[in-house]
């Protein structure tokens, strides 16, 4: 992880000097993580792809303003968070779930594990705030302080959202976890 951060810092410095290929490398490192985070948030593959494109464009344009290159990941996810919620706010008046919502499920049905499908559905039952907090904590591995920076709210709020979301997942996934326990035993 330290090695990666050093390399990210180097790529950021090269990008700032106008080396487009360095930014290309930086994007290739982060695009999958950002895409998955966005996919779980907006629940639509094409929207997630479009937003990811916008995120990396804005990141490139704002890279000069990034004061501490070591905070690149939190800064990048902050942009992703803003872009995703901008999209979600636009969707809200329509009141409908995206048309491809089922496609997300269909893709998952291809997976052999029933658990994965159950987790996907359980995540979608969370509120957007709770889901995002769980995604950043469990799947992206951010610290509470970094999440506070990304989400633009106090650490106490972040903790509250993570624990509330996690608690709800625990209840929703209890039958799945129970079966898993049974299989293990």
């Amino acid at each position: 992880m330290i090695f990666r951060e050093v390399e990210d810092r180097d790529l950021i410095a090269r990008t700032r000097r106008g080396d487009v290929e360095a930014y290309n490398l930086l994007v290739s490192r982060w695009e999958k993580r950002v895409f998955n985070y966005l996919l779980r948030l907006v629940n639509h593959r094409e929207d997630a792809m479009d937003v990811a494109q916008e995120v990396f464009l804005k990141a490139y344009q704002g890279l000069v303003k990034l004061e501490d290159p070591d905070r690149f990941s939190a800064w990048l996810f902050r942009i992703a968070h803003n872009e995703a919620f901008s999209l979600l706010r636009k969707r809200r008046p329509e009141g409908d779930m995206p048309a491809e919502s089922a496609a997300f499920g269909r893709a998952s049905t291809m997976m052999p594990l029933e658990t994965s499908l159950a987790v996907e559905r359980a995540l979608m039952e969370l509120t957007e705030d709770h889901r995002e907090a769980v995604l950043l904590k469990v799947y992206q591995g951010f610290k509470f302080e970094e999440m506070a920076e990304i989400l633009g709210c106090p650490v106490s709020t972040v903790k509250s959202r993570v624990y509330a979301g996690f608690e709800q997942l625990k209840q929703t996934l209890a039958p799945v976890s129970g079966r898993a326990v049974e299989k293990i035993s």
Partner: protein, 194 residues
């Protein structure tokens, strides 16, 4: 099953999410070893986390397209060749000398230069006017003098002609009167007249 620590129940969410310091971890682990309720809570929490780990990470449908985008073209100042060129010793030395020359020229005190004399336009105009007037006067005087001379010559010639005519008439009149006097004298004396 309930935990025996009713007022300080361990936070197993924080425990499995890695948001607990080492001392606290050791404290609740020691407690859980003797608390059946906490053992069940911890197992359920861990299972939830393990279940979540089963979620498949989706592959990105296509690469983020940005390389060919014009907005990513670096500006002139961002291009690396410019920096490399500037950092070459020969270029840097030349630039340094040029900079020193320019700085010297800029910082040198200005040479005192006498201000150009104030041009008295009115005086020049008066002078030119005066010269012009003198030339005009001279030309007029010469012309008048010539005209007077010509007129005088013409008058002299006319006076001489008139005087000559008058003298001729006077001579003729004198001769005629002389002849009449002679004839009258001869008639009165009877001499030589018949």
């Amino acid at each position: 099953m309930n935990c025996t620590l009713s007022h300080a129940k361990p936070d197993w969410n924080a425990y499995v999410l890695g948001e607990m310091d080492r001392a606290e971890r050791q404290r609740i682990e020691a407690h859980a070893s003797a608390c059946t309720g906490c053992q069940q809570d911890l197992a359920a929490t861990r299972l939830t986390l393990d279940s979540m780990a089963a979620l498949r990470e989706e592959e990105i449908p296509r690469r983020i397209a940005f390389v060919s985008d014009k907005v990513f073209e670096p500006s002139f100042w961002q291009k690396d060749w410019w920096r490399k060129m500037f950092l070459r010793p020969s270029f840097a030395g030349g630039a340094l000398i040029a900079g020193a020359v320019l700085a010297h020229g800029w910082m040198r005190p200005p040479v005192a230069v006498a201000p150009p004399p104030a041009v008295d336009v009115a005086a020049i105009e008066a002078q030119v006017s005066q010269k012009l007037q003198a030339q005009v006067n001279e030309s007029v005087q010469a012309a008048v003098k010539q005209a007077v001379a010509v007129t005088r010559q013409q008058d002299d010639r006319r006076t001489a002609t008139l005087l000559a005519a008058a003298e001729r008439r006077y001579a003729e009149t004198t001769e005629m009167l002389s002849k009449q006097v002679t004839r009258m004298y001869a008639m009165n004396s009877g001499v030589g007249v018949r």
